[in-house]
Symmetry: C2
Subunit: 283 residues, 2 copies
């Protein structure tokens, strides 16, 4: 294992030392952030809801005008990874590949596909039950409909937002929420948001900015399947303050409920444990 916890690294089917050089300097992912990624959690050698991740990877590449991902190759990489490290975090990165200098993509260039795995994070085990504190970020997300929803490699807004608060500690925030310029809640730095009002769920509209995560889609489907009303809409910050509960989710953390946000306390949703269990299942 390397200093950053990397266990496994494969680029275009070739295994690399996770700590060594593996990306050519001409890769458009490095030069322009021209590519997309997925971060998934392997459990017992398997990625829950993999078909949804595969669809999202293909959809995000299409949004950027890039080609189709080599899903059979990625599935082989994940199977080999799961056989060696059944429980870990895998990041799948697909870039526009190599090109000559300049913003123009070369025609017919092959995409670069990287699967990299790291050890499970050392989070406090009680986060799921005890809830988390949520920081309100000062950085506002820019409206860019051409990129909204896509998990692309241009993540400086998230980096700057995450740099606003100190490392986690006792009482420290485990996640930060970002708003858009109009003051609507959009996303956590690494997660999607749900609010609960009188038993109804709502999650922010992401047509202007934010990432449409796979876990968000799973929670919407779970809510509908369980007769919980769930909507996608613009959510001004005041709605969050008044909400009974707030939940942040992604494919690594599952779903955390928010204990504390902007000096206010919120409740754990009655169905939270049930949701967590459902997300851990493969559906």
């Amino acid at each position: 294992m390397t200093a950053d916890g990397a266990l496994f690294l494969r680029v275009d089917g070739v295994d690399f030392d996770p700590a060594g050089a593996s990306v050519p300097a001409a890769d458009r992912g490095f030069n322009y952030g021209d590519g997309v990624f997925r971060t998934v959690r392997l459990a017992a050698g398997h990625v829950p809801a993999w078909p949804r991740h595969a669809r999202k990877l293909a959809a995000d590449l299409a949004r950027l005008g890039l080609g189709e991902p080599d899903l059979p190759a990625i599935e082989r990489d994940l199977a080999d990874l799961g056989a060696r490290y059944p429980d870990c975090i895998a990041r799948i990165t697909v870039t526009a590949g190599l090109s000559a200098r300049g913003y123009l993509r070369s025609r017919g260039t092959a995409l670069t596909t990287m699967v990299r795995a790291t050890a499970l994070p050392g989070w406090p085990l009680d986060r799921e039950t005890a809830g988390i504190a949520l920081h309100l970020c000062k950085l506002r997300l820019a409206h860019q409909p051409a990129l909204a929803g896509v998990k692309h490699l241009n993540r400086l807004e998230q980096v700057l937002a995450r740099a606003e608060w100190a490392e986690e500690g006792d009482g420290g925030a485990a996640e930060g929420l970002t708003l858009d310029a109009a003051g609507h809640a959009i996303c956590g730095t690494m997660s999607n948001l749900f609010i609960v009002e009188d038993g109804r769920l709502a999650t922010p509209d992401l047509s202007g900015c934010g990432v449409e995560g796979v876990q968000r889609g799973r929670i919407l489907d779970w809510a509908w399947a369980n007769s919980l009303n769930a909507t996608v809409e613009a959510l001004p910050l005041a709605r969050l303050h008044a909400a009974d509960s707030l939940v942040v989710c992604n494919s690594v953390i599952g779903a955390w409920w928010v204990r504390r946000f902007c000096g206010r306390s919120h409740a754990r949703p009655a169905w939270h444990a049930e949701l967590v269990a459902a997300l851990a299942r493969d559906a």
Copy 2:
């Protein structure tokens, strides 16, 4: 020379095969676009206006909350490069370096510094005198004051804008202009813009989006030194249509005048040849 014309590659003082792997998968430049760059033209082994580039590199890193660039090391790399390839294009990339997975930067991490050189572009030689056609891009730049002006590694907007028009050819556009959501002209995909109205110059305000290029600053200084009125202001598209002349500039191309934009013809500024000569000098 590699397929993409790369001549020279040095990362943190170590020479690499320009076509081989040189970037670790954990580099934050690759994962999040967490870093900045400069593209400069070497002429007779020397970078014109290098002190301006050095200041811009340091200012851009500071805007991202990163440390100071190792300028003596970069100057050594450029001197070694210039001794081997006196006339070429060099890209200097400085990233936030390595970190554990996630948006949070690790404390005390060293920046990664890469100097990579490619051959001079094979542009038609008459562009400077004959002018260029300028494409109007459909993609609108997002307002993000936290990143505006900075030449950072999150360049998907430019990649998408550059993908809008075909490869250059006879009559093809050599550059594309991007507006913001309000319809104000901001930047070319790889250049800054000046317009000329009754002998006065104006260049777009970049406090909301766009890159504040070194060549733009040099042209502003040159204009003031030559008693040409030059202002920085919001420029609605209609001002461009009505302008006598349009000029796009960067440190590689120098300054090109625009012959054709949106079906309208514009004139070569009377002082254009003089400006080009001044930019080629080291000041």
